[in-house]
Symmetry: C2
Subunit: 603 residues, 2 copies
Amino acid sequence: MERYEDSKLYKIRHSMAHVMAQAVLEVFPDAKIAIGPPIEDGFYYDFELPRPINENDLNRIRNLMRKIIEGKHPFVRKVVSADEARDIFADQPYKIELIDGLDAGGVDEYGNKIKDENMVITTYTQDKFEDLCRGPHVEHTGELNPDAFSINFKEPAGAYWRGDENNQMLTRIYGTAWETSTELEEYLELLEEAKKRDHRKIGQELGLFTFSQMVGKGLPLWKPKGAKLRDKLERFLRDEQVKRGYEPVVTPHIGNIQLYETSGHYPYYADSQYSPIDVDGELYMLKPMNCPHHIQIYSSEMRSYRDLPVRLMEFGTVYRYEQSGELSGLTRVRGFTVDDAHLFVTPDQLLEEFIGVVKLTQLVFKSLGMTDFRARVGIRDPESDKYIGDDTMWEEAASAIIQACNELGLQHEVVEGEAAFYGPKLDFIFRDVLKREWQLGTVQVDYSLPERFELEYTGADNQPHRPIMIHRAPFGSLERFIGILTEHYFGAFPMWLAPVQIAVLPVSNKVQEEAEALVQKLKAEGFEVELHDRGSLGKRIREAREMRIPYQAIIGPRDVENGTVSVRLRDDTELDPMPVEDFIKLARRVNDEKLVDLVPEQI
Amino acid sequence: MERYEDSKLYKIRHSMAHVMAQAVLEVFPDAKIAIGPPIEDGFYYDFELPRPINENDLNRIRNLMRKIIEGKHPFVRKVVSADEARDIFADQPYKIELIDGLDAGGVDEYGNKIKDENMVITTYTQDKFEDLCRGPHVEHTGELNPDAFSINFKEPAGAYWRGDENNQMLTRIYGTAWETSTELEEYLELLEEAKKRDHRKIGQELGLFTFSQMVGKGLPLWKPKGAKLRDKLERFLRDEQVKRGYEPVVTPHIGNIQLYETSGHYPYYADSQYSPIDVDGELYMLKPMNCPHHIQIYSSEMRSYRDLPVRLMEFGTVYRYEQSGELSGLTRVRGFTVDDAHLFVTPDQLLEEFIGVVKLTQLVFKSLGMTDFRARVGIRDPESDKYIGDDTMWEEAASAIIQACNELGLQHEVVEGEAAFYGPKLDFIFRDVLKREWQLGTVQVDYSLPERFELEYTGADNQPHRPIMIHRAPFGSLERFIGILTEHYFGAFPMWLAPVQIAVLPVSNKVQEEAEALVQKLKAEGFEVELHDRGSLGKRIREAREMRIPYQAIIGPRDVENGTVSVRLRDDTELDPMPVEDFIKLARRVNDEKLVDLVPEQI
């Protein structure tokens, strides 16, 4: 598969960013330009502008961009010395800062740390605009399609220079660009559809969760319906794991800083941890991950090879600091619950345990109707020496992972350099109904923590041995996962996950009592049922549909007479009136077999 | 019921404390004496001693105490001025500090804050010993029984002067005293029994939980078996609540300090909260209770009188600061999970909701085999003006609570002055098999938080009204509750709660396969089953008994032939061999009906 960075689209977007910057400078001659990289699906450029930008400015910029494109100006590359570069960008303080970085070495033209210490400094010029840039670009602006781009700015979009809240806030203009106008239209439609499906909007409408300024940013509060959905998901995952020999544990949400110093998470990951809490002169941290706690449970007793594998699982809520600008609904939060497990295994058990983990993940994906997923195997960069552990271990672990994928027919790619420093890993990537890819959780082999915490088991030889750890959270964060599911399903969750499964709708007050009796009957069968008896029948149907309740059981005088119910689905499909018992059978089957289809084919 | 403070035993113990102090001063003439109050079941006295105390010293003190008792010295009360008191206790700096406090007013002779501003200063003298004391005492030391007391000191017992870790550490000698030597013996036996039943010891033996220095003090880690027990308890409580219209929610473990400033928990309860965490200049607290979070969920949407009562429940883990000296196993911890619920009700609904809460609590007690419990109703002190809300509200709420107790036949006492400032309450008190009383959770009516958070619902009159809140956590902390259950049952939990319910014991390797098949069969029936196949049959039986596994299903060649199993209970009762299916029926009934008896009478 061609890497995005090597694609035509990447060059188009990178070039379009320069074209936009030129246009902005024509509208705001005093603008200071910062950086403008291509990104997934588009590009952006950050500017310091003399005043807030408005729709009129954007229109002028769009028109100027079209004119620049029509000019078919070549992109001309030039190698310059640092001092020459400083002369060229004398009026551009952000560029000067970047040039200083390039000159000092170890960062690229966007200020990001890179390996290459000895980069040459280059600029690209089109028409009258010269930018500090490594490329690549298209040959000339005529290769850009004036009908296949779009730019926009929406309050409060903006970004701090270098992502640091102490720096100047810049105006970030986003754009997208494609080869054809059809592609652009399709993309914009996708955006529109994604907006409609935004889990923040649906979550509010369905009463799944809420945020409170008083509680704090990035800290979701799960309302009754969301908590029910979450509980169903948790119990399902838990039960499937317990069946496979996982053992749930419960650990506190804080830990002494010693724990993280030993694990190495502190101070190395201090930026993504909350600041410590002082307790009688000892420092405690909100836990950013569950592994050190689970390790303490492992090492609370003597372990023999006969006890391994030990598989400790917990829906462990962790807290990590994220900049407030990065927070977004459930997908980027400051507190989230990991479907976590840590497996302590002997080297011999690695392959079998990996197979078990992948199998379980496949099963769960299937139960959730998520058919389009793949995996990425991260192995060592053979040229780097940052990895700990000996070569044999690494090779055995990597081959166990790849073998597990092969045996189970899991589509996967192997990427060098994507391993953690402590072991190879497997990431799960899900493609939703809008074809967006979401990286979910991960399975990682770890040789480091067993070393750091001096974990042991007694082998068959009666000698102490070091176990290998597998970190395993195939869905990552429950919050994020539910956010993704919400968008994938547009809130219409599979029956078994739906917080309300059946809405009972009396056609009028005349059958109120019978409707209430039906609610009780269905509840006694174990379904989540709501009575919808306010307003007209039309309103009742509309509300049930809007709440994405899988089945509307509509009951009128005829139904009462015949012992039937008229079933309507949330997509407005109407089924023939059926005996109540048949409806219960249907609903039971769809629920128990975790079917996505609400009216499955008879087997 | 006579108050302990008015009882003969109280006077005996108070007098015994003075006798002990006199004896200590005879052994250590330079000792500085601090305070020596009667406590539940005994008394203590704190001393600053010139050297560590040893068993020999204690023996001398015991003998001297007996001699003082035999002397039949009267206790003589004397009223003194502050200056006279300072003269008397010129050599005793701790007493001087207490006298200064008494002189300034508002504290008693133990330094505790009291209401009486104008207390006279009194001393009591027996034999050659005079102590700053308000009494009461027995008439003379001859009323004390020289064969009915006991004193002891165990490392690291000790206490900081005035409970402040910055002060001098004092040597605390504990004692107990009774009217008869039989009572003393019974009490000491009880202590011995309690020691054997210590949940910290049993929890370790049964693998329920562990503590880790690295994680931190007072922060239990639930190991697989404990987590299983805990989960069974939680699910049971949850299901029973959901049946009654409670709605589970999930909220984060931290909150912005604003939340606690609004609720009034900060800064007023700052001493029992962890220090704040700084996030981008905003302060966050580990949540010390769940109510403010639940309130945010209540107020996340418009509420109508038709939506009330709203009953939000959560097993919410909270964190509170406790001094490290106060921590003890699961019963005093720094992080614990509350079986919390908050009910938002109209004034009309108060009685019915209270009845519901009490009924549910009674049901749960019964399901746990806890038959000996009572309640304490805390109402206003009619002479105090610290309470908020109008008189009618208070009277209605108190009468609703009392009426609920009466209707449901809940044994209860009404105690004036035991209400919270924001409303009356009901506390549950459980008496365990050793007759020890444990205060469990509480139900509280709250007029204050709805006010502070400006909660509303729209009434039938279309006007905004303020709901009343009921805080409800009948078991309080799950950790503490499980600690109490562990001691009450000596680790032999009712079948339905037991983390392992059935141990399958093959009598030898010859029936190994059949034993494994039986394990699978029983697991498929939904039981928690372990195979015990290491060591001799005697060892297998002993281990299963020590782990308090309710049923040992012993299987030998004869059983295989006959399709039977030989069942042995954890108390070593042996049942006649029975068909496997009969055993499953027995176990199923005991489990499903939550019976405490493992071989119930046939109904």
